[in-house]
């Protein structure tokens, strides 16, 4: 049997360099997958974690909302099937079916399963929608040998951040949770949790309160984590949720990353906080925390405030 040159070429998949690791701890960014104004080459993805998945999802949705047709380049690979199993393509279909296209034959059929993915992409559109999801997650984690305490703290984090997204971000949010492998002395059984929304961003939200309207971007982002600081006026006594997330994170010596619009800020394991490139720069807030199934020390709000104050002095 003989094939023509075009026939042969059509049977050879174009070679794509698989290089981008969209992980909470890495510096790769979603824009590196953009090979044209509105074409994302997902075949380049080498590894991806919840932070990467939600950043990519928000980026693709934001691009489609610009009104241009968006194309995703996919192939029948492990990472693409994994995205499929997390509900990534389902979420795109649900949101922007007409504007986002990809070769559906590559991502249909049986979804691969990932035993470490305890919570695939969860869309929270209504206040309180996260509670049953968090409750089911805690029970699942306990069945997998995790302590009730780490599940309970994740439930707390989800509750505060989802409430924030729906109250201050004025929109829905996404949740994810994944077992995370990391080499860290005396510690194992990590869980990476991620929450993302497509609202106005933490810094912009805070500045809607006249009391904080003069803060610059970085100062506004950090200040939002101090206790009793909120986009709402003082009389409403709000502004504890982000501080609670910070105290949980500091009390567990976890890896923490927050992004607001085009700003990225992280507190690595050694607590030497740093500014860096956000994984994506679309409007909204994205949080990721890698918690260890170990002791949660009680860190007071006062301690968290002091930590944030010290960071503010470095600006």
């Amino acid at each position: 049997m003989f094939f023509s040159r075009p026939e042969i070429l059509s049977k050879i998949s174009p070679k794509v360099a698989v290089t981008k690791s969209l992980l909470i701890t890495d510096d790769a960014v979603v824009s590196e997958l953009l090979i044209d104004d509105a074409i994302f080459d997902l075949r380049k993805i080498k590894r991806i974690d919840p932070h990467g998945v939600l950043s990519l999802l928000c980026s693709v949705l934001a691009k489609a909302e610009e009104g241009k047709p968006v194309r995703l380049l996919v192939e029948d690979s492990f990472q693409i099937q994994r995205l499929h199993s997390l509900g990534f393509f389902f979420e795109l279909e649900r949101n922007q079916r007409d504007l986002i296209s990809w070769d559906r034959s590559k991502v249909t059929g049986l979804r691969t399963t990932d035993p470490d993915m305890f919570l695939p992409i969860q869309y929270i559109g209504n206040k309180g929608g996260e509670r049953q999801i968090a409750e089911d997650l805690v029970r699942l984690l306990i069945r997998h040998g995790f302590s009730e305490e780490i599940g309970a703290r994740i439930g707390w984090i989800f509750g505060e951040l989802a409430d924030n997204a729906l109250t201050h971000g004025k929109g829905p949010c996404y949740l994810m949770c994944h077992r995370y492998i990391a080499a860290k002395k005396d510690r194992f059984n990590f869980l990476a949790v991620a929450v993302a929304d497509r609202g106005m961003g933490i810094h912009n939200s805070l500045r809607t309160n006249p009391k904080y309207s003069s803060l610059d971007n970085k100062a506004a982002l950090l200040t939002a984590f101090k206790s009793s600081v909120s986009s709402w006026a003082d009389e409403f006594k709000r502004g504890k949720g982000l501080t609670d997330v910070m105290t949980i994170s500091l009390g567990n010596d976890s890896y923490f990353r927050v992004e607001s619009g085009d700003m990225g800020f992280s507190i690595p394991w050694d607590r030497n906080a740093k500014w860096g490139r956000p994984m994506c720069s679309v409007s909204g807030a994205r949080y990721s925390i890698v918690l260890t199934d170990a002791e949660f020390k009680n860190v007071s709000r006062e301690d968290a405030d002091a930590y944030i104050e010290a960071l503010l002095r470095t600006l």
Partner: protein, 91 residues
């Protein structure tokens, strides 16, 4: 003393509006003084706690008895105690 089993409202108690709803339901159904039973509750967020615990304590002399609170729930209650000076008793 009326013992309120909070697990009837869920194992994850978060959200300010949800706290307001729960408080209304509690006060509508029961007579103070209350004792809060957290058995079966994994965690409570401070926004929920702010809406429920201080108003109940106010009805009973700024005192509140809490039983079966997990370490995570106690951490949240401690933040409320620091802010409000409610006298909590743990059982």
């Amino acid at each position: 003393m009326t013992t309120i089993k909070l697990k009837e409202y869920g194992a994850i108690l978060t959200g300010r509006e949800f706290g307001q709803t729960v408080l209304k339901a509690l006060i509508g159904k029961h007579q103070p003084p209350f004792e809060l039973d957290f058995e079966g509750v994994f965690s409570m967020g401070s926004s929920f706690g702010d809406e429920v615990l201080p108003p109940i304590a106010k009805l009973q002399g700024n005192e509140l008895q809490v039983i079966n609170a997990s370490k995570t729930v106690q951490a949240c209650i401690e933040d409320i105690r620091v802010e409000t000076n409610i006298e909590f008793t743990f059982g």
